[in-house]
Amino acid sequence: MRDNWIHAAPLRAVARACALTLAACALLPFGLAGCDKHGETHAEPEPVGGPTVLRRLTESQYRATVADIFGPDIPVPARFERGLRVDGLLAIGSSESGMSPFSIEQYDAAALSIATTVLGVDKRDTYLSCAPASTDTFAEDCARQFVQRYGLQLWRRPLADAEVNALVDAARRGHAQLGDFYAGLKYALVGMMVAPEFLLRIETTEADAQHPGLLQLDAFAKATRLSYFLTNSTPDQELLRAADAGELDTDAGLSRQVDRLIASPRFAGAVRAYFEDMLQFDLFNDLAKDPIIYPAFNSTLAADAQEQTLRTITELLIDQDGDYRNLFTTRDAWLTRALGIAYRVPVATRNGWEKAQFAGDSTRIGIQAHIAFLALHAHPGRSSPSLRGKAIREVFLCQEVPPPPPNVNFSVVQDPSSTNLPTARDRLEIHRTEPSCAGCHRIMDPLGLALENFDGLGTFRTVENAALIDASGALDGVEFSNAAGLAQALHSHPETPRCLVEKMYRFAVGRDTAWDERAYMDYLTEAFTVGGYRVPQLMRTIALSKNFFAIATPEEGGDGHQLANLATANGAQP
């Protein structure tokens, strides 16, 4: 985001040029104007890559990983430290945040609980294909078999002999202390689960024979990056096998695995993870509403509101293979009873979801008019055109809005019961007379004011303090009279698809884009556009691109190589 802000102007120029090229594609016969005969995009530019990163598993990745390895019925009783949002994404923060003593305690407690369940009397036969003659004897072969099998899955690579020996030795010492084979083995499993190799995605590199001067992720690091990008979880057995067999180093082998992962049910988890991150749903953990003003707000509504938006997204983007931009104009309404109270619509189904459509004459259009967005970007006791406008700029258009200057007088806008200034528009008009505020509010408010027909929770309203609400607004020169107009403007805005592309790539690699990746961003944006703005197709394009696995050498890309070397020095396989 920082870089993007710096070179936003050239990027926009490139985007405009690309748009023109695409228009030419549409108008000219196939095979002209830089498009191939099937209307496909230009070839991927030469990869430039970026640094490797050490990415901490997010909470959802940790939980999904445990569920995929040991089964969904294994409880994970832990409270995870909140993520760090960097450049608009927790995915980037996961490679920049530290690990506090609190985190270590939680990881330790979670690992102990998981190991106790997995190796408990009821479950152990599910995970072990061998057993000691009696529980008070130590069966080394069995312990070794367990460590090798689950070590591969947990550390996402085969364990070195020294690593296996160390873990088996931990199990042996545990057995010696506790007199029980499974109690000892538990400590080997805990050891694997609190190790950096499990908690951090350590990216190891190798020379890229096809691109001298560049490195690339090694096979197992490729498998890990692919898997967390396309399933938000750990590589499955088949992907690990393909990595071990060298199939990820061939175009055909990689393509086969990418298509398999995109076709799997786990792909929806990846799309959900991306949009949860992009839409900043982690902020719901801190969201509070005044119970007198918004009595319908509670934890059930907060959870259902997020799920509503995510269902809308996955259904449109995956099930219908729809145009990403239609997220801003969809009238689809997934509803529960809790949501029905806030939206003020009937929902007959007691415990579950109903899918309806918001009425054709309603301005409730698009995910930006969902309660999840409207409630999140509002104050505890009132709506906020400024917060909503800022969020639209930052979340959907990747445009940064600076924070307010110090010593701003908020008294006018913070009095929502003012009879002289009954609407938010009235109050903001006064507030904007302060020159230091005017610039940013001019960017934010015209967007947020279009959503003023939705109160601080997101409930539809026509009046505020008995005054009719004027929901007109504008977005970069496009004027509209209400939220429906805003929806169309977002749908048509040239930065809307480009922002998604850039965020998706940054989400995939866990870092900001590098300066040299501008051409690659253009390539992805063009492919996304030509492909009809299909998100699964975009993710496939990223996953199959050379740049996705390319690692810049230290001279080219900073300290990434050093991180890779560190990982190797700590015992990971090269």
Partner: protein, 419 residues
């Protein structure tokens, strides 16, 4: 309805007509915009009504009674006594020197048992008819204090469908208030304004039972000479806010049992909805026993506000035997699966209630018949029901009669918040 909006516009005009009023161009344009954007159909499109339909969930219900008896002339002989109170007035019931609170309470409980047992050994709470009228059970005989409620038998000869009784005057001076249940309970501790028995909607707020009201054919919420009004038992628990207040615009399914559904013709006059009489009944739950709260010839008389709040009275006649059952004796209490609840639970609850709430079972049973004023038995001429007034408040809700009728795949229109 049109009247109300015309009034509103006049008021606005008046405010701007004053000689000292400085009408700026901006204010004038805002005023014009306001007038032009006002819905022309006035109150017909109140947010809580869609296509002439509106639903409500009862958010508060309590017996409509009178003020605090000890501070009035309602009970010149004092308040009713429980069996323990009666025993305490005897020589054996006096507190002994040095007797501890716990010991005395235990002795009162034991001593009171003789007053809750019929001569033939039957428990008087489960068999109140085996006892006699209790002089220690006091009722209200004066009629001079204001009592809440509505006139249930206006214009009808007492002999037609009621027994002779004395009406009260309402809190705002309305004549003819029929509230014989107040006479029965007015001198009982637990039925005073803040008494435990008048807070029976706690069970409603915990989701044990609920009441739904639906209107259809509403053209105007201020004046409409014909609307359809339906009463239903709620099949879903009431939805509450984090501060335990009922939430508006929640969805509820009606109890599919036709015994818990009733319909009546109604009218709205000056914002007050009234209905023709109809028999209704609702669920009631005490100590996990499922009971029925019936009301014969029930009428709704309630103000319908612009925000969709319905507030007023639901009044009618409660059959005496049913009133005794759901309020005092629990003789018909059933389990969730429909079997008669265990004897011990029913008898224990009734005797416990009598002790805690301050009445004798036989006393209240005979008092109910003494003051009964409705539905005379054709054979004996004795009235079998008692006029009962409930003060209710209901808030907007989506009332769904057919569980299969979901919004799945259909357009849904939101109800605007008009605050």
């Amino acid at each position: 309805m049109a009247e109300a909006i015309r009034y509103s516009r006049t008021a606005l005009s008046t405010r701007t007509d004053g000689p000292r009023t400085r009408v700026t161009l901006r204010a004038l344009s805002m005023l014009l915009a306001y007038i032009m954007l006002q819905p022309s159909a006035t109150y017909a499109d109140a947010a809580f009504i869609q296509n002439g339909n509106a639903g409500f969930v009862v958010s508060h219900i309590a017996y409509a009674l009178a003020g605090d008896a000890p501070e009035s002339i309602a009970c010149p002989q004092g308040m009713s006594l429980s069996v323990q109170d009666i025993f305490a007035q005897t020589a054996k019931g006096k507190r002994l020197p040095q007797e501890s609170d716990d010991d005395y309470a235990a002795r009162l409980r034991d001593g009171g048992k003789v007053y809750s047992t019929a001569p033939d050994g039957q428990n008087l709470c489960t068999n109140p008819e085996a006892g006699k009228p209790d002089p220690n059970y006091r009722t209200v005989h004066v009629s001079t204090m204001p009592v809440a409620g509505i006139d249930l038998d206006a214009g009808r000869a007492p002999a037609a469908n009621s027994c002779a009784h004395q009406d009260f005057t309402g809190r705002n001076g309305e004549p003819g208030i029929d509230n014989q249940f107040y006479r029965v309970v007015g001198c009982t501790r637990s039925f005073q304004p803040t008494g435990q028995s008048n807070g029976f909607d706690i069970e409603m707020l915990t989701g044990s039972w609920g009441i739904l009201i639906a209107l259809a054919g509403v053209d105007d919420i201020v004046n409409d000479d014909s609307v359809e009004v339906s009463f239903f038992a709620n099949a879903d628990p009431i939805q509450l806010s984090p501060t335990r207040d009922p939430l508006a615009y929640a969805t509820y399914l009606v109890d599919p049992d036709p015994d818990f559904q009733a319909h009546a013709r109604g009218r709205i006059e000056n914002g007050i909805l009234t209905t023709e009489p109809t028999d209704v009944q609702f669920h009631h739950v005490v100590n996990s026993m499922y009971l029925v709260r019936p009301l014969r010839d029930a009428r709704l008389h309630a103000t319908l506000s612009r925000d969709g709040v319905l507030e007023g009275y639901l009044a009618g006649y409660t059959p005496v035997e049913a009133m005794y059952d759901f309020q005092y004796g629990y003789r018909s209490g059933k389990t969730r699966t429909g079997e008669l609840a265990p004897d011990k639970l029913r008898a224990g609850s009734a005797n416990g209630a009598a002790y805690v709430l301050g009445h004798t079972c036989n006393g209240v049973y005979y008092a109910l018949y003494e003051h009964a004023d409705g539905h005379p038995d054709p054979a004996t001429g004795k009235c079998t029901s008692i006029s009962t007034q409930y003060a209710i408040k209901a808030i907007p809700a989506f009332v769904i009669e057919d569980a299969a009728h979901t919004i799945q795949g259909n357009p849904v229109a939101e109800h605007a918040d008009a605050r």
